[in-house]
């Protein structure tokens, strides 16, 4: 399952699609950045409602396959630019985090 497959199967909106062929494995949900870095695995889909620029840094450093913004939260343009520069996939959905995780679980 690639990030591109995930987008079509879950009807996520691509916000930044830097690496659509990245393989997806597993999922982590959380907004506290140190928990994400301590617990998420490389390749995980990371579901969050955090939208500041640190989200991009953590997504990159923790090497997740994609950040999925739940609850319809949006990014400001500088954050989008940063994700593009760092090659971090960012997707979004109007679903709450729990429903998003259930959906991801059902397709991967």
């Amino acid at each position: 399952m690639t990030v591109q497959d995930l987008i079509s199967r879950c009807h996520f909106t691509p916000v930044v699609l830097a690496d659509p062929e990245r393989e997806v494995s597993g999922c982590y949900v959380g907004d506290l950045l140190s928990w994400v870095m301590g617990r998420a695995q490389a390749g995980n889909v990371w579901i969050t409602i955090m939208t500041n620029v640190n989200t991009v840094a953590v997504g990159s450093l923790a090497d997740v396959s994609a950040v999925v913004l739940a609850e319809g939260v949006t990014l400001e343009q500088p954050v989008i630019d940063c994700a593009e520069a760092r090659g971090v996939n960012i997707l979004s959905t109007d679903l709450p985090a729990y429903e998003t995780a259930v959906l991801v679980h059902s397709v991967i």
Binding site: L32, S34, M37, G38, A42, N54, V58, L61, D63
Partner: protein, 140 residues
């Protein structure tokens, strides 16, 4: 002394909204060196946690990443307030971070434990009122 690469960074203590620039640069540099992704991930996360701590707790500092043939050594040096009780600070969940820092997603009290978790060796030299120097080694 063996030949090695050194990356040196000044970590700005002013802006904690965009903190983490040195770590992002380190990740880029290590990728260019062709190091294994898992090593890069461990170094990046340990360094990022340390860099964020220097920004939110110590008003910035300097970071050095030394790349040897079989290990990477990260050194973070600041002139901040120091850590009074290191054993307490090392506990998961212990944090003195402010609410504004927490609202950015930091301050979970997991930074030092993560640094320990992702490195093979971690040393904290700290003196209250003088500063903190953290040295982390990742072997590969």
């Amino acid at each position: 002394m063996s030949e090695h690469l050194n990356f040196h960074y000044n970590v700005d203590g002013e802006n904690f909204v965009s903190a983490g620039q040195a770590s992002v640069q380190v990740k880029k540099n290590l990728r260019e060196l062709g190091l294994p992704p898992e090593v890069i991930r461990r170094v990046s996360i340990a360094m990022y946690e340390g860099e964020i701590n220097m920004v939110i707790h110590a008003d910035g500092g300097v970071a050095d990443v030394d790349v040897y043939e079989d290990k990477i050594v990260i050194t973070l040096d600041d002139r901040g307030p120091g850590i009074k009780d290191v054993a307490l600070a090392m506990q998961e969940g212990y944090s003195t971070a402010t609410d504004s820092v927490r609202s950015l997603g930091f301050g979970a009290g997991m930074g030092l434990p993560n640094m320990k978790r992702y490195t093979d060796d971690m040393r904290i030299d700290t003196t209250v009122g003088v500063g903190t120097k953290i040295t982390m080694t990742i072997n590969f």
